[in-house]
């Protein structure tokens, strides 16, 4: 049963369901919640396989160079070990992602510290770790580059012909014509640092290999079919000889989008060489040193405004540090580019964006995927503009917000309702913004604690960028087992955000049976269709819609072919399924993605419908800056958003709160310190995330406007909350101290450097 039209998205549809749903919109308990609470959920490190060995990785200790010799210490009996180098790879020595530039194992040269060169496996986990130190690699070092600026100088060239991983040019109107008649021109440069995902479960996989079955991998991962594709190339195997199964996954945040393709290939190579199942679970030190982080950025804004504070032109120069290989840098750069102008109307826009190669671990996907960097810059810049031209920052934003019918920088017409004004009003009211701001201004004068309040306004595009969803061409659905369970068939994975719960809610709703009658099929490439990767805030909206359609289609087919009546009980539904099974066989309903009407993206001109839908938000942060200890603390936080229909309020609230907490860490705590291109603070002891004592009260408010092409009206939610905290917090710090900070993370030493320059008279007055 493959869905064609009756429930497709090519026509318009009137949303009548939201008022009458039984399960969608209700905070049903998390599907796998009881297993997690009892401690019986099986994460990869909880799984043993018969005869299993343990793998470990020998990594480069220099950022760039040629490998001269690989020597194995004779005091170790290497016959006990499986040893794998690039020579053992049966297929292609690269990780399939977008560009095939990243080797699975370094062959002859290394391009970053901690790059994998040799793999070892042994039955004893402790012995294999010790053996790593007994492999000595000698190099002929080559000069590295570590920063965007060094890479831009192209001396040396460390990647391709010119160090440039990717560039985009986004143009609307004519920016250069706007400067001459502008009333104001405001410039600013903003920088963001790398950020580590710090999922509490490190990356890990178990791999098995046999001549007959090929490669099987179990692992902590987001995208089973990404890993599948990568393994096909590394092993040169046909599709049915590679199987990838997701195990319970202890957090991901994008950090298990691309890296598991590398780790799975490593473990599978060791499994093939040793003839045993091989487990590779990183410890924290290795995970922090070797896996992806958020791209650092440098974003320059030059903005022209008229005398009323209306935007005339935005000229944006956006650069990211991509690390040693291209991995996902092109798509991260694209999303950064498309979020760099903020939720504003501007007739003339030019965004020149570049991603540069450096000799560090490749930067990768992380919640927000380029948007947090871009939104930090534009939302800090809006406050800079406001003070430069003497307008209230709230008022400046209000005068320039996008509304229904306006066009974005890519000429996308806003066809869905845009309610930034309403979100802003609600955020100001809920936070009592004006009262607090006035109160702080009065109190700060006599206090060493300076309080301030700041905002950020932003959108986040839901789903893949541009033509992405068309290319993905996702397939998803439901089936009914002979045991009388409806199963959701997707490769979309659960890693805390609620995929299992929301998709089973949708299936139960659309079929019309209880939530408890629906379960998830295992995220196993041998069982489920490819519903696309679990990224880009696409699961509820895009995959959810496919499940909604598949459920409706199943009921229609059972009515047609198995005599299911108009109104039915759950018993009648399952009886009809068994009648259908007896006549026609398996009870399955699958639906394929159909783009909403009028969505077209021109890859060549980089123009058109950048996203099928946008989620919108306003954040308000209240901070206290202690001018004695130089610490900045977020005291209270408000997040108001429109994410379409909220399918499960408890889960949705948890997404917002968790994203805000990560955003607070991004702004004030989390610094990746690189020394010679190696992460020097690769421990939880010195890479600091917000704890239970650091996170402020977070007040979450939803405005709901169902999106007719999303699962029961849903749009994207997962990444949105990470976009706003950093600019809102630094805007609040400016309100508190009068000092504009242009870079994150903003640590006490950075505060000290600026605050110490302030007039000492003010400090003595407070003593």
């Amino acid at each position: 049963m493959l869905c064609h039209n009756p429930f497709g998205d090519s026509g318009t549809r009137i949303m009548t369901t939201h008022a009458t749903t039984r399960i969608v919109g209700d905070s049903v308990p998390r599907k796998e919640g009881v297993d997690k609470l009892l401690g019986r959920a099986r994460y990869v490190d909880d799984i043993e396989r018969e005869g299993m060995w343990h793998g470990a990785t020998v990594r480069s200790t220099i950022p760039r160079g040629l490998i001269q010799t690989i020597a194995f210490d004779r005091r170790i009996d290497w016959t006990e070990f499986a040893v794998v180098t690039a020579d053992d790879i049966p297929g292609q020595n690269h990780i399939q992602l977008i560009v095939a530039d990243q080797p699975c194992l370094a062959d002859g040269r290394v391009n970053h510290c901690d790059e994998a060169i040799v793999l070892l496996a042994h039955p004893d986990k402790r012995k294999v770790r010790e053996a790593v130190d007994a492999v000595r690699i000698e190099y002929e070092p080559l000069p590295p580059v570590f920063t965007i600026e060094e890479s831009e100088r192209r001396n040396p060239v460390v990647w391709g012909a010119d160090n440039l991983l990717k560039s985009f040019l986004l143009e609307k109107g004519n920016v250069d014509s706007a400067w001459a008649h502008a009333a104001h021109i405001v410039e600013g440069e903003y920088r963001t640092g790398a950020q580590e995902h710090l999922y509490i479960e490190n990356n890990g996989v178990i791999a098995e290999w046999s001549e007959q079955n090929g490669v099987t991998v179990w692992g902590s991962l987001q995208c089973p079919f990404y890993v599948h594709k990568s393994l096909l190339a590394v092993f040169d195997l046909p599709e049915d000889k590679v199987r990838v199964i997701q195990t319970e996954t202890g957090g991901a945040f994008g950090g298990k989008e691309d890296y598991p393709s590398v780790l799975a290939a490593h473990a599978a190579l060791l499994a093939m060489k040793s003839g045993h199942p091989v487990k590779m679970v990183y410890d924290r030190i290795e995970d922090l040193a070797a896996t992806t982080k958020r791209h650092p950025s440098r974003i320059g804004h030059r903005t022209a405004l008229d005398e009323n504070g209306k935007l005339l032109a935005m000229d944006i120069d956006l650069a990211t540090d991509g690390g040693a290989y291209s991995t996902l840098s092109s798509t991260v750069l694209s999303r950064a580019t498309l979020h760099s102008t903020g939720p504003y109307v501007c007739p003339n826009v030019r965004v020149r964006s570049h991603s540069w190669a450096t000799n560090t671990v490749p930067y990768g996907a992380f919640r927000g995927f380029g948007a947090p960097q871009a939104i930090f810059a534009i939302e800090r810049h809006m406050d800079e503009i406001a003070s430069a031209i003497g307008i209230d920052p709230i008022e400046l934003r209000r005068r320039n917000f996008l509304h229904d019918g306006d066009t974005t920088a890519t000429e996308q017409v806003m066809r869905e309702p845009v309610i930034m004004d309403r979100l802003l009003d609600r955020a100001l009211a809920e936070s009592d913004y004006h009262t607090r701001r006035a109160q702080f201004a009065r109190d700060n004068r006599a206090s060493p604690i300076k309080r301030g309040i700041g905002i950020a306004a932003f959108y986040h595009g839901s789903g893949f960028t541009g033509s992405g969803e068309r290319y993905l061409n996702s397939l998803a659905g439901v089936d009914v087992t002979p045991e009388g369970k409806v199963r959701v068939l997707v490769s979309s994975t659960e890693f805390g955000q609620g995929t299992n719960t929301v998709l089973t809610q949708i299936a139960a709703e659309s079929i019309g049976i209880p939530y408890d009658d629906v379960t998830m099929a295992p995220a196993d490439t041998g069982i489920v269709p490819n519903s696309g990767p679990t990224v880009a805030s696409r699961t509820s909206m895009v995959v959810g819609r496919l499940i909604e359609r598949a459920g409706l289609q199943l009921v229609a087919i059972l009515r047609d072919a198995a005599g299911l009546s108009e109104h039915f009980s759950r018993e009648e539904f399952f009886a009809a399924c068994e009648r259908y099974r007896a006549i026609k066989g398996d009870v399955v309903s699958l639906c394929r993605y159909e783009p909403p009407p009028g969505i077209f993206w021109d890859d060549q001109k980089y123009r058109g419908e950048a996203y099928p839908a946008f989620a919108w938000s306003v954040h308000v942060a209240q901070v206290a800056v202690d001018t004695v200890t130089y610490t900045a603390e977020v005291e209270e936080f408000w997040a108001v958003q429109e994410v379409g229909r909220v399918l499960n309020p408890v889960l949705a609230g948890g997404q917002i709160e968790g994203g805000v907490a990560q955003g607070i860490g991004y702004a004030l705590y989390e610094k990746v310190l690189l020394q010679n291109g190696h992460m020097a603070n690769n421990q939880m002891t010195n890479y600091i995330m917000p704890t239970a004592e650091d996170v402020p009260p977070i007040h979450v408010f939803f405005e709901q406007i169902p999106f007719q092409h999303g699962g029961y009206g849903a749009k994207g939610i997962g990444e949105l909350p990470h976009d706003g905290p950093a600019p809102a917090i630094l805007n609040a710090i400016k309100d508190a101290t009068g000092i504009s900070f242009h870079a994150i993370p903003l640590l006490p030493e950075d505060l000290f450097a600026e605050l110490a320059k302030q007039s000492p008279a003010e400090e003595t007055a407070t003593v």
């Binding site: 308990p29 919640g33 009892l38 509490i200 479960e201 202890g250 924290r284 709160e657 421990q683 239970a692």
Partner: protein, 166 residues
Amino acid sequence: MSASWPAIRLTVNGETRTVNVPPMKRLLDVLREDLHLTGTKEGCGEGECGSCSVLMNGELVNSCLVPALQAEGATIQTVEGLAVNGELHPLQKAFLARGGAQCGICTPGMLMAAAQLLTVNPHPTLAEIREGLAGNLCRCTGFIRIFESVVEAAASHEDKQAAHAR
């Protein structure tokens, strides 16, 4: 080979267990590898994240920092011992209803920290909850719903006591 190590006796979730392990083996590994109690998780291996939290003689400890020999004769409680006869502990019920668990990897340790907190302080203030859970890192929830879950569990405990009093 393992038999050559001295026996270490400990009581885990009410059962007496004997293991023959190297004396410096981490309690975390004894629980996971020798006793197959994989509910206790490793997050950092250096006592920062609290994912491996268990109760040892009623005290909250990071089991990655406790050598097996130190657990000789000790009473250990892990997440597997929280539910009684299949009935979820009030904290587990509250975490389920309130969204206190997302990815679940910090949850066992968080539950043990919360259980210990409620044992010593049945009616903690929000500030006391924050302090009591400050050694347990959660990257998913931003902690807000974990705090709410602990508050709810404390309240349900109170309800039960009130019911008994009647």
